[in-house]
Symmetry: D2
Subunit: 363 residues, 4 copies
């Protein structure tokens, strides 16, 4: 088995020309596509319809090749888009394909492995609670088992967190203030599920009360968004595996705060890449194929004891600012603006910081 990653820079959210051409030229076998993850130029907010547009356009392309109706494409391929290409970030899509057959014996070097799974459907009452933490952990553990990887081999778990519709029975029986069926809770519980499965926290440390409250508990590898009306959480696991072949590897690290540049260097170093005067030389920049990060403007209002104004600006959301900052730093260090930063990082890295993962060509 091997993972291939194709990166296409887009001219707008509906631009699928790169993928269409790659399929037409035989470079990509549409049957092999497992996931498409992309960054669109929306505002990342509730009224960001660039994600819908990108997914609709891609679904139409894939439907033809997978011989299914467009609305069924998502049952076969994970489509995950994050809006917001603030600052230098270049809108792009990453197509992840898996090909080849299972290895009969382990390779000497670990290479990028990839698989996706769903949790079971959640009820509205479970979201943001231990039930969601545990089920997320269970699904991830199963996925690791399937891929034959250890927690230490896992470098990124990209999750679209469930947020089921409220039915009238629920809203009658549960006082609204006790429900946690919103995006922040879905993200927080999902991230702790990853932390639990990867051994970053122990179950004894966890409780309903700890979720979105005890920020000392976090995963260094979870990257979670939440999607209204989604019943089951979707996850894609990225790991290095000795059972996988190919020329790609992944590494990760954690920015301790929003200007933690050394953490970015450390991730690149794991890939054998060494910035010179703070930035990868061109030849090395070309070895970087995908950069993922989560961002957050520190809610305590300070960065290294200095005030920041990302939360007090009534005109521009802190979300847009934090994505802009983190993608600038990642682009500054890698010399490449094809950066994927998504925001709101509850239990994904420490408060005010966040995880970073980079996929590159093995040196």
């Amino acid at each position: 088995m091997r993972t291939s990653v194709y990166r296409f820079f887009t001219t707008d959210p509906a631009d699928v020309s790169g993928l269409v051409r790659a399929i037409a030229e035989g470079m990509i076998n549409p049957q092999s596509i497992v996931a498409i993850i992309g960054k669109t130029e929306g505002n990342g907010g509730i009224n960001d319809f660039t994600r819908t547009l990108a997914m609709m356009a891609l679904s139409q392309v894939l439907a033809t090749h997978l011989d299914c109706r467009p609305e069924l494409v998502e049952e076969r391929v994970v489509l995950s888009f994050s809006g917001g290409s603030e600052g230098v970030a270049a809108p792009h899509i990453l197509v992840f394909a898996v090909s080849g057959r299972a290895a009969e014996q382990a390779y000497p070097i670990k290479r990028l492995a990839l698989a996706s799974a769903h949790t079971r459907p959640f009820s509205a009452q479970e979201v943001g609670r231990m039930a969601m933490v545990r089920e997320t952990a269970r699904a991830l553990t199963w996925l690791m088992h399937t891929l034959q990887v250890e927690p230490a081999d896992v470098h990124l778990v990209q999750i679209k967190g469930a947020m089921p519709a409220l039915d009238s029975a629920t809203t009658e029986n549960v006082r609204a203030e006790h429900l946690r069926c919103d995006m922040a809770w879905s993200r927080g519980a999902s991230a702790l599920g990853v932390a639990l499965a990867l051994g970053e926290v122990t179950e004894s440390e966890l409780s309903d009360d700890a979720i979105n409250r005890d920020w000392s508990l976090y995963s260094s590898r979870a990257s979670v968004s939440a999607k209204p009306l989604l019943r089951r959480s979707e996850m894609v696991l990225f790991a290095n595996s000795c059972w996988w072949d190919g020329d790609l590897v992944i590494a990760h690290g954690v920015m301790q705060d929003i200007i933690d540049v050394p953490a970015i260097h450390a991730v690149l170093n794991q890939l054998g890449l060494q910035p010179v005067n703070g930035q990868l030389a061109t030849a090395d920049a070309e070895k970087v194929l995908a950069v993922f990060a989560k961002s957050d403007a520190d809610p305590r209002g300070h960065i290294r004891h200095r005030r920041h104004t990302m939360w007090t600006d009534a005109d521009i959301s802190d979300m847009r600012y934090s994505r802009c900052v983190v993608s600038a730093l990642l682009a500054g260090v890698t010399g490449e603006t094809g950066i994927y930063v998504s925001t709101r990082a509850e239990h994904q890295g420490p408060q005010g910081g966040g995880p970073v993962a980079v996929i590159g060509y093995a040196s």
Copy 2:
């Protein structure tokens, strides 16, 4: 003579408590203050009144100590504020004071020297034309002469460009489309004036036509904003001089594009500072006292052949984005968020890039 720089982080644009206390405690002699430069948390646009507020608050404080009416303070002290602390930038003010007497002989090591000057008043027809270029160059040349510094010693020329009111005679006699009395033209001509005085361009390369058109001509040390209704341009020259004493030095460089991190490293290196894993260690970060830069989102729409969306976002101005990006990079490298980035950099560095200057303690 020696320059002292005091940095005060503010809680809001009207916060003058740091300066008030420093004067009360005798740390700063108000008579010695030559300039106050600051970053406020406004939007940096035409309706950014945080600058007015900061200047009004400071004028009230200084008026008491200088024994003049608040509205006359600006005749004695340059007050220059830039709105926009997007992302990580911490709003702050920098108080520049000069004390001591002229040296009788040169010191062995050059230290930060500082002086301010005005051009003569401009007519509306002169703005954005060679008349403005030449007069700006003349005023700067005179200032260098006064300070006994060579062009190579100059590291930053902070200018507030004139933009006189249009009188009715002007608007009757000159067709509106031939007038250049706006902010962009004032900045462009002022910057070329600096470039001319510093020998970065020759007079034969310059013409009315070249201004805001031939972007190969630029200064690496000009930092210009323009101010409506200002009749004379104000400038503050920052240089290293062997006739000045003290513990501060200044260095500069040019970012060739908006993610040119190596250029930032090069400036720090001149100050004897070496980032480790991309960032100054804490002890070194504390040696950095002031960071100035100009920013621009490349108007050609690309950064290193990748598309950026800073100009096509109808909700957020490219100005806010570019300041956010450059201050993130400067904070990332220096480990310090007290960064001053101002935007629109016509002839200030190459198109899409911009100058950077850093004041630090001499090692």
Copy 3:
């Protein structure tokens, strides 16, 4: 012949459920659809992809019924979306269908008639010049002839103005400053084309110089947007005709400035509707089926000698403000928030004002 108009309020830009259901239930014959005009909840700017999304979603629906590929739907049905539902405006789509056969003799009462046409393709050099004015007028004249209506019967001409791509030959031969191939010029020349065809201006008053300069020249019935890369302008003519049957009529008027409420009353009066205490009673509000207007924040910065701040707000575009204001006034008077306001009204009503058209049930 008769025109039917169906209004569907949408839950998001991709919501086509209303139309799908109406077709499934036999209420709308998809073959009879001539145009779909809608308001989406984007920002109305260059990065507003809600229009693309709405059109992609509708094209998929219509493609099935018209038995053509989705990308060919626009050759048969005019799809025209305007982004920006600021304030009270409710996002909605209006489906215009034409059915029945040509009348053999005139009806006693005029009813809503409707037809669409294209201009010939324009070159980039023609945009914003008399060539575009004349060709727009020619196409509209032909359309009036086809529909057998007089200029006085025409109440709205909705145009998507051409803005062809620049080829390299053009940009080499024509100095960029002489080209008018942008949105403002396309709108201005198209609107004057309407004014010319409707006899609102005479050809002798018109010239290349008058376009987007002499604001005393305008149409009271043009509603123009411009679309990058469109080679031919598209137009939909709305008129009352004695050759058409049905229960719908249209009326129009001109707001002389952005708070000209009496002009709105006058339009409603033409439809036999009389606001009570400034607003239509519920039963009368239900007789209003579609409300169209163009808006502009007066570029002179004043409304009835009072300053407004729509142009000096660096955070929010004047376009968003003016749509918000005009839709609030129209909703206030009609008691109905299903309002279509689009902005930038060069030669569409007087400067700072704009045309209004209302389709209602005949009393």
Copy 4:
């Protein structure tokens, strides 16, 4: 006693030239000024410093005339500024002065009377609770008694609600989630205090639980903002009194939803003004001297069963939209853009609506 109202349109938030001139010319006696209420062109959010700027500029002017330090001006004159002149609203200040001596017997006609008061200081625990409701009601009752007016004579109670700083004792003893010391709670409890004093609600209907929850309880005359760090609430009472003389009267009404134009007509009718075709004729518009309203985008997401998008726009705050809408409607009806609309109307009118008050010349 008589109330005089002077309206000055400003060129920017620091523009005090109108007041300065009026004082210099003897038109306004500075000793007679009771309150200055104004609208500035900020964003109305937490980082809107235009209010601070306006108050600083006015305090400097008044300090000279009242012979006190600028920071003490607010102890003698209520300065109340609301940021946000979205859409057509013209930034302006209203200077309220009281002159003359107490009448010995009642006049035959009631005229505008005005007085200000403070509550006692509140603790952080009291904010948003019945203690605040009762003390606000007590202060208002006392003020009515002082002015010799009945609840039915009261047409506007402008309040700046207290929001004291949290001391460490408080935050230690009270679990954060039980504290209500924020702007929404301060506004809600203050408004219910007005409702209680005016007999619009009974004390038995009120409880801690009802505050900011039972929206059927509201005042039709409260207009409340909240100010961080304010220890006592400030209030200005506007009434018609038979003990007051002059040529001004006030009337009020309640918009039941955000497009309730008939409610605006009803208020004008009370002043003897009758819009023609939906708008006051010029001569009548000039009789309107001040227009106050509170606005809110209906949090239920609908206006008359149609969806609105004011809450789902991640780029522009619902607060800016609702002010833009309500000021457009008020300007549309009165023909005057000098409108004061402030947003967030908890218990000030019904949910999604809000109170309106107009001061005009007696006919």
